[in-house]
């Protein structure tokens, strides 16, 4: 495992390991077999594991998701690939009304070990339905776990943990970081639901996940030049949320800024700000601020850079937080 791997390769390795470790693990999705997926995350897996374990499905997201639920009811551990973020909407009912609730509704009689892999977010010059950040819909639904890795190590180990989990997991892959390389360690280091402080600091806490972790790390680096020491927390699990780690950080720094690509309006940042304010009120020097996308349809590629939060928008929020 040692050495530098892209996030894409790290995910591919995780799927390979999962297929090796458990004969009940099956992969299904559009163009994942022969082609190896449009982002090549399943590259070579059908060749090595056969087309009954790595299955090309028709374009029918609702049917694919329902089939995965049926397979799970009969003891399988399906991993579904949704080709692009916006393509998950046709499967919405099967995910929120069936997959999320089956275990609680049966009060534990059945398990739903289904992993739904979705490349999400923008930044690759695609358009709406190919660039969306829809994590709030899923995080809002009780019974689902929603996670997103930001680096190669987490991509590998979090995917393996997601597949091994008996819970349904929405696994959001930061598609514009697929080709970023990093070290993949020999063990996962953290449980799937834990957040991680990726850069310690003292003046303010930047909270991000998936593609925005890198932006926040760059912002913290730039702020260092101005003598500001920013802490960066990689949320990793969007539901449930590791509040103890966030609280501990905020109580030290007194300032928090949540950064995500999704629209700020009713996004994950709203819940984080509200709950952390409740829990850390007397430790805060400023309101918890949010940096994110605009409350508008995802724009055409030409203006994508205007829409997506960048280093300047993050640092601007840091200025505002420090000005209180």
């Amino acid at each position: 495992m040692a050495g530098q791997l892209s996030i894409a390769k790290a995910l591919n390795g995780a799927l390979r390991k999962s297929l090796e470790n458990d004969p009940k693990t099956v992969l299904m999705g559009e163009d994942i077999g022969k082609l190896g997926g449009v982002f090549r995350i399943t590259d070579g897996l059908q060749k090595d594991f056969g087309d009954d374990r790595v299955m090309d499905t028709p374009l029918a997201e609702s049917g694919i998701m329902g089939t995965a639920i049926g397979l799970a009811l009969r003891g399988y551990r399906p991993v579904v690939e949704i080709q692009f973020d916006g393509f998950v909407y046709p499967a919405f009912d099967q995910i929120v009304s069936q997959l999320a609730k089956m275990h609680a509704r049966a009060l534990g009689h059945v398990k739903m070990p289904v992993t739904v892999r979705i490349p999400f977010g923008g930044g690759i010059g695609a358009v709406e339905h190919h660039s969306e950040s829809h994590e709030a819909y899923f995080a809002h639904t009780a019974g689902l776990r929603v996670v997103s890795p930001s680096n190669a190590h987490d991509a590998h180990w979090m995917l393996r943990q997601a597949i091994e989990s008996d819970d349904p997991v929405i696994f959001l892959e930061p598609k514009r970081r697929y080709w970023d390389k990093g070290e993949v360690g020999e063990d996962p280091m953290l449980p799937l639901h834990s957040a991680r402080i990726v850069r310690p600091g003292t003046d303010a806490t930047l909270i991000a996940y998936g593609p925005m972790v890198k932006v926040c790390q760059e912002a913290a680096q730039a702020a260092e030049e101005d003598g500001r020491h920013l802490e960066v927390v990689d949320l990793r699990s969007l539901s449930p949320i590791d509040f103890p780690t966030l609280e501990e950080s905020l109580k030290r720094t007194g300032r928090g800024i949540v950064v995500h690509e999704a629209p700020v309006f009713l996004g994950l940042g709203a819940e984080l700000a509200a709950r952390l304010t409740e829990r850390c009120f007397y430790h805060l020097e400023a309101p918890i601020l949010r940096v994110g996308g605009y409350h508008a349809p995802y724009p055409p590629s030409r203006v994508e850079e205007t829409y997506l939060p960048d280093l300047d928008r993050v640092l601007d929020a840091v200025d505002r937080a420090l000005a209180y």
Binding site: G63, G66, R74, S97, Q98, H103, A104, R105
Partner: protein, 327 residues
Amino acid sequence: MSLPHLADPAGRYRAMRLIRSFEELALEWVRSGLIVGGTHPYIGQEAVAVGVCAALAPDDGLTSTHRGHGHVLAKGADPGRLLAELAGRVDGLNRGRGGSMHAADFSLGILGANGIVGAGAPIAVGAAWAAQRQGRPRVVASFFGDGALNQGVLLEALNLASIWRAPVLFVCENNGYATTLPAGAAVGGSACGRAEAFGIPAETVDGMDVEAVRAAAGRMVERARAGGGPGFLECLTYRFEAHHTMERRFRLAYRTAQEVAAWRARDPLASAAAALPSATVAAIDAEVGQLLLESAEFALASAEPDPLTAGDHLYASGLRPRSGAAL
């Protein structure tokens, strides 16, 4: 091997009698407030559930609908536990968490009723496909109504079952109305035409005749079990009662009294009884009456769930992110 309790005409009559009497009792419990929120009564459609389940083996599965009590009982679920489920008690099939529209008994292959029209169909395909992959020819019957014929997810499921030759029996209970909209005004083409378009053999039967349903379902189940792929059965039937118990209050008038009376004259329970010696029918009726008395006692004796358990079983992994007031 077919389900032993449905193996002969007397057993099938008994199952239909049980469903009818159970549903009548459930109506009473809705009126008296023991069942909160109402139900979708299955009265009038008993021959479909019983006829189809009579063609299934014990380890075959089914997915059911919002009008699902008949399917659940026909497959063999305990009426006391189903009644407790409807009344929201801890000894219910789903310990009171599923309610009328989500009753399930996975130990009997009852993979769940479903409140979303058509949503059970791809789940049935997945479960059937799983059995096929395991080399165990277990069939899954997927029940749905004429309303589901216009849901895209059903068409996706038909296609997937067809290309994978999954052993699914699609059972369309055409009772003539999707809530209040007549099927004639809602369904372009036909039920069987949809299946045939996907290369699935389809047949229409008299859904008021339990033996006709059983015979047709039996042919399709055996073919599916032998690897011949899915089948589609349209059962022409009628619900004698309202779409939902709330309908009484709203006094919806979308069916004429004559139409209801004409279908009631073809009561599937009465015709199944007529085929048996009257002493047999009387003995079964008495036995089922006693069983339901005991079922009611069982359900009433069961406790109501503790609201503080609302967050239990959120995650199979045992993860408990929040508890109590901060849920």
